[in-house]
């Protein structure tokens, strides 16, 4: 199965998944996943893809909180492009 990685951000309004080639966003994670599926279908046409998205805690949690818990979340989504 193909695997693709993204950095994930939240800019206060929408979630953004980004790597060297692709940038996709959505107001909710569901919308993000839908938009991602459409974009990947354009590129790969069909098949199953494992998408991993890492939200860097440093980008969303203020510095004073890093010492408490240095992790936010890491999403794994399996998309069926067929």
């Amino acid at each position: 199965m193909r695997t693709i990685h993204f950095d994930l951000y939240y800019d206060g309004v929408k979630w953004i998944a980004k790597n060297d080639r692709i940038v996709v966003s959505g107001k909710t994670l569901e919308e993000l996943d839908e938009n991602l599926k459409l974009k990947l279908k354009d590129i790969f046409k069909n098949g199953k893809i494992k998408v991993s998205m890492e939200l860097d805690f440093r980008k969303v949690i203020p510095h004073w909180m890093w010492q408490y818990h240095p992790y936010y979340f890491y999403r794994t989504v399996y998309l069926d492009l067929d």
């Binding site: 800019d11 206060g12 309004v13 107001k27 969303v60 949690i61 203020p62 510095h63 004073w64 909180m65």
Partner: protein, 81 residues
């Protein structure tokens, strides 16, 4: 602490930072530029799955409290009384 470093929400209208203010007793997010507002916390109805989560946790908690307390009291704390 970070001296006020609350994560900022951006206005979906114009992209400016939003500030938290009180209006009619409720906390709302208001855009500093265009005045767009939305509730900070909307009201959500209670979901049956929440009821299950709470119920099963409490039942498990009560059962485990009784069982573990019995074990600890019999095998450990009895030596200290």
């Amino acid at each position: 602490m970070g001296g006020g470093n609350i994560a900022e929400e951006l206005c979906p209208n114009c992209g400016s930072p939003m500030e938290i203010v009180k209006a009619e007793g409720m906390d709302i997010l208001r855009c500093t530029s265009c005045g767009y507002e939305r509730p900070l916390m909307a009201v959500e109805p209670w979901d049956p799955i929440e009821g299950k989560l709470v119920r099963y946790s409490i039942i498990a908690g009560i059962i485990l409290t009784i069982v573990l307390a019995a074990l600890i009291n019999v095998y450990i704390l009895s030596q200290y009384s």
